[in-house]
């Protein structure tokens, strides 16, 4: 019946088990999939990323202007577009989107 008493005293004595967010923020792991970013100068607007996206989050137009748009609310950060891009201009940033 008193098997967890040792655990309780240890918890009372030691420091916080949780981080005091937002004063202390955890470093993301490298390779973490947070949000999608594009290097706009290298993009050739071929549209392959838009065809591969499982969630239809990317829109690429060629006429009348060349645009590349991402709907961040649809993106599921699967990084399928990152692997598919022939010019390797897409990459994943490790930090997640914050409220702006």
């Amino acid at each position: 019946m008193f098997s967890l008493i040792g655990n309780v005293f240890k918890n009372l004595r030691s420091k916080y088990a949780t981080r005091l967010y937002p004063y202390e923020v955890r470093e993301s792991f490298t390779g973490s999939r947070g949000k999608l970013e594009i290097d706009a100068d290298v993009c050739i607007y071929c549209g392959i990323c838009s065809k591969r996206c499982p969630a239809n989050a990317i829109t690429v137009t060629r006429k009348p202007d060349k645009t590349w748009t991402l709907d961040s609310y649809r993106c599921i950060v699967c990084s399928y577009c990152v692997d598919a891009c022939p010019k390797k201009c897409l990459h994943m940033n490790a930090k997640h989107r914050s409220q702006e």
Binding site: N56, L70, D71, S72, R97, E100
Partner: protein
């Protein structure tokens, strides 16, 4: 490709299923596929990690006899087939009458191809947010 498939008809369905049970086979599940003119209903049985299957061809509009009298566990998947494909199943131990998974406002028999419901693929969103 599936090994070990035996084609059966509606009349001998209950006898074939009843013959498997005393041999120690366990009922796994049923699968329904819409092949255009008819439905293909597959029954999967398992013993010692080997699957044995029956394939039943059912013409559209014909009812299906239920095996839930012999195998209680089959009623869950037969109710699901009744909802999603619109096949009438006779003799269910517990009949939900088409409301097992779908609500009153849901489309009717959504997985059936003709006449069923075709989902229009959502086009690229018009007012997309900019990349942050």
């Amino acid at each position: 490709m599936i090994n070990n498939v035996e084609n059966i008809t509606v009349d001998c369905l209950l006898d074939k299923v009843a013959s498997k049970l005393p041999l120690g086979f366990r009922f796994v599940t049923m699968t329904c596929v819409d092949c255009g003119e008819h439905f293909d209903i597959l029954y999967h049985f398992d013993k010692n990690y080997e699957l044995t299957n029956f394939r039943l061809s059912l013409k559209k509009g014909e009812p299906l006899p239920s095996i839930s009298g012999l195998i209680f566990a089959a009623l869950v998947v037969e109710n699901e087939i009744q909802d999603l494909f619109g096949i009438k199943v006779n003799g269910l131990a517990l009949d939900y009458e088409g409301r097992f998974l779908l609500t009153e406002t849901a489309p009717e028999k959504p997985l059936c191809r003709v006449p069923g419901v075709m989902i229009v693929e959502a086009g690229k969103p018009a007012a997309a947010a900019e990349v942050k």
